[in-house]
Homo-oligomer: 99 residues x 7
């Protein structure tokens, strides 16, 4: 519905579009409200410039644009584009790919 914003994450950061609490993504994962460290479903929208190894070479990501992922609700930084929420977070804060 909303176009993805033109954001280039830096380093090992990733931009994800967060899924509304009411929805459930494909695969039927349900995130209980009572979860201690609240996870959240999201979709990868843009990858960063890449973390660099000791030689200064950017490292590949384990996720790709379009992946449905589980992230911690309280990790990263939220930005809005129109009505849609996005989150900028480090790839290591993505817990798993779903589906």
């Amino acid at each position: 519905m909303s176009k993805a914003p033109k954001i280039q994450p830096l380093g090992d950061r990733v931009l994800v579009k967060t899924v509304e609490d009411q929805e459930q993504i494909k695969g039927g994962i349900y995130i209980p409200d009572s979860a201690k460290e609240k996870p959240q479903e999201a979709e990868v929208v843009a990858l960063g410039t890449g973390a660099k190894n000791d030689k200064g070479e950017p490292q590949p990501f384990n996720v790709k644009v379009g992946d449905k992922v589980i992230v911690s609700k309280y990790g990263g930084t939220e930005v809005k584009f129109g009505d849609q929420s996005y989150t900028l977070l480090r790839e290591d804060d993505i817990l798993a790919i779903v589906g």
Copy 2:
């Protein structure tokens, strides 16, 4: 009873199915309620993409799918699939294999 969800943990993370408090797994381990750092029985359901060493090669896991394990109750992130609880946690937070 419930099918395992299609979740691919990332990095050194592991997906485990947590065993109900009332049950006991094979081998008769009992987890006292009064334990200071509360451990919990669980079963390994999926392994992550693997932590990477300095050369970027994924490292093998010490556990395999199907292993009964002891994990800290408060470690990792809980997700639900139908009625079943799962936990995403780092392999180093698995204390031991049972049975």
Copy 3:
């Protein structure tokens, strides 16, 4: 309107001109007031002398002067030049380039 101050950031620090809360930068990114870790739009004004690697060589930056960026509102150190606010912050505290 105001000339950039003559400030040479040190090491991996960057000087950015912070954008007023009321404004929005090109691309339509909107930063919600309720965001947990408040991000802020800014424009890169000066690059530091560069972080040094193990051999003492300064490393290149991922941003360049003129880039519109998203930074954490509470990161770095604020200085004023006339009526304009600037922030000195480490490059790793810049979350993304916009536009």
Copy 4:
């Protein structure tokens, strides 16, 4: 009296059987109640898979099964097998071998 449980500790962890407070192990070591960091007598029951060095080789342990040891009372994770308490802890949390 109780058989050792079938537990395979992971990594540099060790399983020890904790000795009752009333008892004293061979050698006459007595642990004062007033001790600031409360130590506890225990017996090594099982060794872990071994911490790994940079090359991924498991490292040998300084203790062996059957060793009487002094551990910090509040370190590690307690599990029960029948009436007997066991503790899973990292080898570095074992302070000394006794006797």
Copy 5:
């Protein structure tokens, strides 16, 4: 007005003469009272013996004696020489060179 004290900073430390709050240094930088991490103008008076790299060789400084700099007001250790305040701080706590 006051002679610089004979102080040889050690390691990566630098001695700076702090500028009075009322004054402004060349270039018109103004430090707002409301700044969260309060910066302060200062002038470099003496360089340390130099941080050492892995081979034990002292590393060069990015600042030189006489540089006008911006430092964090609450970093380092204040000493007085007559009526003049000085601060001993690590070079990494100097944010930028001004002018």
Copy 6:
């Protein structure tokens, strides 16, 4: 008066016999009650198995059995053998050799 207990400290730990507060060891060092980080006189009774370097070789100790030392009163773990107090602590927590 009391025989030393048969304790083999592990790793870089050392067993010391703590000297009563009323006594003073040779050299006339006096530990003021008001000292912020309370030091305590002690005598080295047993050395550990040795910290290991990157190659797994145990490293030599700077102290030897019989050395009179100054340790932090609140460092390490206290154990009793008969009426005598002993402390298990890491060698780096020994501040100095006296006499």
Copy 7:
């Protein structure tokens, strides 16, 4: 007036004789009471056995016995020898040499 105690500091530690608050050392440095991190004048009395590099070789100190130094008042551990206060502290906690 008082002889230096026979104390051999260990590792990178140094023994310093702390100067009374009322006195001022040569060079006219004055330590304001209101200083946030309270520094203190002292004189180096004994050097440690030396910190060791990766190869196990002891490293030289930047200070020598007799140097007048500025240390943080609350760093290190105070010991008394007769009426004179001494402090055992790590060399990195010495801020500067005076005079």
